[in-house]
């Protein structure tokens, strides 16, 4: 089971998304979400969206292990 987190404006689009999913890679998660959450999938596909696994930025084809925390990060706006 993979734990999902969505930040910033992605969180608004992901309000009804399950908090866990079974998937092999972040790209896999995107494909699975596209079926039921097309607006979210479009937002996640934007090139500036970063993905992290267990709080480290990774590539979209990073292999996931059971229990991983995958977060989708829009461009940051702190400071």
């Amino acid at each position: 089971m993979i734990h999902l987190l969505f930040f910033g404006r992605l969180g608004d689009l992901a309000e009804n998304v399950p908090t866990t999913i079974v998937a092999e890679t972040p790209a896999d998660i995107l494909r699975l979400l596209a079926m039921d959450f097309p607006l979210l999938a479009v937002a996640l596909s934007e090139p500036q969206i970063l993905v992290s696994v267990n709080k480290m930025i990774v590539d979209w084809d990073q292999r996931l292990v059971d229990g991983s925390e995958v977060a989708f990060l829009p461009p940051v706006t702190g400071g």
């Binding site: 910033g8 500036q48 829009p74 940051v76 706006t77 400071g79």
Partner: protein, 154 residues
Amino acid sequence: MDTIRIQTEDFDLTQEYQLLRGLSGTVGAVVTFSGLVRELEHESSIESLSLQHYPGMTENLLQDIIDQANVRWNLIGITVIHRVGRLLPSDQIVFVGVASEHRGDGFYAAQFLMDYLKAKATFWKQVSQDGKQFWVDSKDSDADAAAGWESNES
């Protein structure tokens, strides 16, 4: 001696300055920066600002930024404080303080820390304005400021 704090409560500039000043007898310069909530967004008054972050990852990223500053410059201490939650116009959002032997290291490091924090640390601002909420867009100028350090070995 470096400090990272992410908190909802306000911070006190004098107290943070005194902590950096007192780190060591070799401190010859303390450079501080504080960022505030601007009253206007898109030329219209805001009601409030809400700051979200990714607990755990934000601290890791800030530590990485601090580590990079310590490699680049001769520093005695760094403090980075970032507030989260609901803030009002003119509230303090962020504090960066650098203690060093000489002012050049402090000035460069403080600017580097803020440029990298803005471009890389996992914070997101949401503005409340005219009864509506919207997420603030990132600025190309912030990414450019951080990118400028990639090739600049100052």
